[in-house]
Symmetry: C2
Subunit: 479 residues, 2 copies
């Protein structure tokens, strides 16, 4: 039969070739397609539906804490990008430049936004006059462009989708609170919605965002021990405000500069979902962002009453859950493989014998555990099982994070771990960028992930140079 050609083929095993496994999953689960522009991806319906669920959840969290959405232009004049020195140095080398508009050669080049700090500042300069105008708590959902040489779907692409929050505050204290609040919003979202645990903390000087005074980060660990920078929250102080001449009349009637933050997460999070939860059968989706939460597979579909019962269940459950009934001619086995590949959290099987006994079988994607459930109890049992999948995914990811986090007391130990045990390394650091550079060079890419909020005391001296230690740092390779 023609459809047999579409039979789900096996994918590369994770342990054999993690990179190839990743690409296989992205392709077989129909998340993205390549496009004619190098490094720009097509996000297909199943991938985009995950992004829509992410957006909906995060957007509600942002709005609950008083943030409003806006839309800024996608183009930035070169002179505007240059207004903040550190910022332009960080971004100018990797932007795409528009030099022709319609029939005319442009007098000034315009870049496609790599991030929108300068656009927000240009606008804030016009609308902030008094302390009464503060705080401004703006967020934007959009696409940005950073010209990348080597790209991979979701993890690193020239164009990607993200949200960028940009806020202005009356005092430093309030801005610092906002920076932390948004970092914690991300951490909560990763844990509660994506079932992903992470290390959080402050970036070192070397690793912080171009123009920021401080950058905070959330760093989940992928299944293979490699880190993914999962989201960042920046405190800017009044640096941009000074460069852009943004001032306000304070409560004491003096002219002051507002204090600024920005924070963002992107479609990279879909990459994290794949690499944290996936397995050799494909994608494993956390129930809260899964486009299909329950797939109904009728068994012996052409026997009397089966399809009718399956449809009745689909109708009933659709009020509460994201449900798909697959009534195609493919075999149940084929369907099992397909929806495992697509990471659907729960599979509901129903056949003639089940109907006789007024029950069905629910199978968890994460551990293939089967439960027989009475058809009368489905609306109570499904939420419990979805929560069990969520909890199971989180526990497994947390175990992986703990198992692959090592402690290095001296440099020999550090190099040994770096060479042989992929994961995070906890070790002391003197605070000098030279040691960061040396470590990166001698380990083939291990970088400081962050300085955690609760530092451990591992030794008195820097793991690299032996000078007195200032901080405990999480180290690791990254995507």
């Amino acid at each position: 039969m023609a459809k047999q050609k579409k039979m789900v083929e096996a994918i590369t095993s994770m342990d054999e070739d993690f990179a190839k496994w990743y690409t296989d999953v992205v392709k077989k689960a129909e998340l993205t397609d390549y496009s004619g522009v190098k490094g720009c991806m097509v996000i297909r319906p199943y991938g985009y539906a995950i992004w829509e669920n992410i957006q909906k959840d995060l957007d509600a969290r942002f709005k609950k804490t008083g943030h409003e959405n806006v839309y800024m232009p996608m183009l930035i004049p070169e002179s505007l990008l240059q207004k903040e020195k550190d910022h332009v140095e960080g971004f100018a080398p990797e932007v795409a430049w528009v030099t022709q508009g319609g029939q005319e050669k442009l007098a000034e080049r315009l870049c496609i936004r790599p991030t929108s700090e300068v656009l927000f500042c240009e606008h804030y300069q016009k609308i902030i006059n008094s302390y009464r105008d503060l705080p401004k708590l703006y967020n934007q959902w959009c696409s940005v462009m950073r010209w990348e040489k080597t790209t991979r779907p979701f993890l690193r692409s020239s164009e990607f989708l993200w949200q960028e929050g940009h806020t202005m505050h009356e005092t430093e204290e309030e801005a610092r609170q906002e920076t932390m609040q948004q970092l914690m919003t991300y951490a909560d979202f990763y844990r509660e919605t994506l079932a992903i645990p992470a290390v959080i903390g402050r970036k070192t000087e070397k690793e912080k965002f171009a123009g920021a005074r401080e950058t905070y980060t959330i760093e989940p660990m992928m299944h293979n021990g490699v880190a993914l920078q999962g989201g960042t929250s920046h405190y800017f102080g009044d640096g941009f405000a000074k460069s852009f001449g943004i001032t306000f009349t304070g409560r004491d009637n003096t002219l002051q500069y507002p204090h600024q933050t920005s924070w963002g997460v992107s479609t990279r999070m879909i990459g994290a979902i794949i690499m944290v939860h996936g397995d050799d059968n494909g994608l494993v989706l956390p129930p809260k962002v899964a486009p299909i939460q329950v797939v109904i597979v009728p068994i012996a579909m052409h026997k009397e009453g089966v399809l009718e019962k399956a449809k009745e269940l689909a109708d009933k459950l659709s009020d509460t859950f994201r449900v798909k009934l697959d009534d195609s001619d493919n075999s149940p086995g084929w369907k099992f493989s397909e929806y495992e590949m697509k990471g659907v959290p729960l599979r509901l099987e129903i056949g003639p014998k089940d109907i006789e006994q007024n029950q069905c079988v629910l199978v968890r994607r994460d551990n293939r555990e089967k439960t027989f459930v009475s058809l009368d109890n489905l609306t109570e049992e499904i939420p419990k099982l979805l929560q069990a999948v969520h909890d199971g995914l989180y526990e497994k990811a947390l175990a992986n994070l703990k198992e692959k986090t090592y402690t290095a007391h001296d440099y020999t130990e550090f190099l040994d771990i770096a060479a042989n045990k992929p994961g995070f390394i906890k070790a002391m650091w003197c605070g000098d960028v030279e040691c960061e550079n040396k470590i990166k060079e001698e380990t083939g890419g291990v970088k400081s992930r962050c300085i955690p909020f609760e530092e451990e005391h591992i030794s008195d001296v820097c793991v690299c140079c032996g000078k007195p230690a200032k901080h405990q740092v999480y180290w690791g390779k990254q995507y």
Copy 2:
């Protein structure tokens, strides 16, 4: 007092200078701001919240009819844009070109998408193989760029936000049904959600979309009698499919070309809302897309119990409606003006006397009608009043559309109406583009809006040349 400076200033009257009135409303209602890139606007929180409500409503309509969202790259290689001859001729003159990516000069220019037919086709070519893969019902929410010389917020800007649906079908009949279904979805949305009536029909050859076989359009009339092309739905036949080599194996095992549609509406709709419903006091928002549906203004706010009661009401009503309590120090009169300017459909006033009588005052934005409502009946009365505002707006707009639609039996009459009575003109047409060109030239811009689905018989001959008439056309000037 300092805040007195913020007192809402009067805006230009509509009758005095409609264009200036429009700009005043956009500015005073804080919908947009200008940016440093000519023709690109900043959509401010209040304007963007309208767009979010529009998106939510339309997206649900699209999904209900089986459409899925995707995301395509924002850049199009020049060679890809050139694949369909008519399409490139229509768009190439007005696109922005990226010629430099990062540090390298690009071998091939890339344009920022002015619309995404070619990107969808490139993707469809890869994923459509069998009739089983059809239909493909994809939609995308994104920003597009068309290099415009003269721009106005929402109405014509180089960058704008929109949705673009792109579908592929097994048969011509199915594709034609989709084209009509989506046009009717727009018409329903305009009527049911935006309270805007419109003329709908088919575009003439001259006015149709570049590359389309047929273009259908929805044409609402603004308060001043000028048309706004409010949304279009295109039937493409298999022209793009042939240019892009998109084929599928049909039910009869032969290789066939799929039949294509596309359809889109944009942030222009916000311009339509402003110009259809607005008045000399500012914006008037249809309740279904209003960011604030009910604004609560406490009277004698500092008297005991007033603010508490107002807060209690705000909490209670927020479960069902989009509510704002303004407890700022501004005077009630100032607040009245502000929320009239912002077009909030209902104002709820509550003061000490009202509280004594367990009632409040509800004032409609559209006609300033006041109703005293018992505090116990608010959740029943507010929906009725919001519906009354919606109906009132629709009726008023429909009356304007009817009043300003004229019939021209001969060319003298046509020219007289065109010169003296802004609005739509119903008149017969021979089908020749020469008459369209002549009419446009001799009237300073009157163009065919559409050929309605139910044509009237006004006379036997073309209003312009006197040759036998083929169609009745709606004519009018446009934004």
